[in-house]
Symmetry: C2
Subunit: 115 residues, 2 copies
């Protein structure tokens, strides 16, 4: 993902994936849809299994692709905030479809045998 040479420009799904297929991108977007605004440390708390290094990298890519907006407050210690851009907002149907599937899956898993 991200690289143009491994993306089929004619395939709609590929076009979508080039933006959200990063290892943790969909989850980051999901949390931003839920919370509107999140600081770096708040994202860390929501994704405890993701290293700081990876989180920073995924956020940088999302920002470079224009899905999220980073706001830095020049205070000490530094404070940053991340939120979805309009472009990022446009992925709502995709992320919410994932959420819906996952919620249904969890529900069924608790009711008895999964799938």
């Amino acid at each position: 993902m991200r690289k143009i040479y491994d993306c089929d420009r004619g395939c709609p799904v590929q076009n979508t994936l080039q933006f959200i297929a990063g290892k943790w991108k969909s989850v980051i977007l999901y949390h931003l849809f839920k919370a509107e605004v999140l600081r770096f440390s708040e994202l860390q708390r929501r994704l405890p299994y993701v290293s700081k290094r990876m989180l920073a990298k995924q956020l940088a890519e999302l920002e470079a692709d224009g899905l999220i907006i980073k706001r830095i407050y020049p205070v000490i210690p530094v404070k940053t905030e991340y939120r979805l851009s309009d472009f990022g907002q446009s992925f709502q149907p995709v992320i919410f479809a994932m959420e819906a599937w996952g919620e249904n899956y969890i529900k069924k898993s608790y009711q008895g045998s999964s799938r």
Copy 2:
């Protein structure tokens, strides 16, 4: 993806991703939604930028997870067919949301400046 230790069991999106986050899985599913049944070679033609090795691996994982069904015909040369299982079908809303986003993106890209 795939590994339990990098999946937050409480996050719906993570639950979904553990099945479809493989590098080419969503695209494979997408083509199976479109075509119903596809042979290995037909999938290769639809994903020319994916190596045979990778395609086989992704298909094996999708089958192991129960999203697709593989049918082997004992003829020479061998013939195999892949199709979605009911479980695989359940991802339709997710895959179609990706398709819809991608189609809209492509349309806008051709109309003028992208995003």
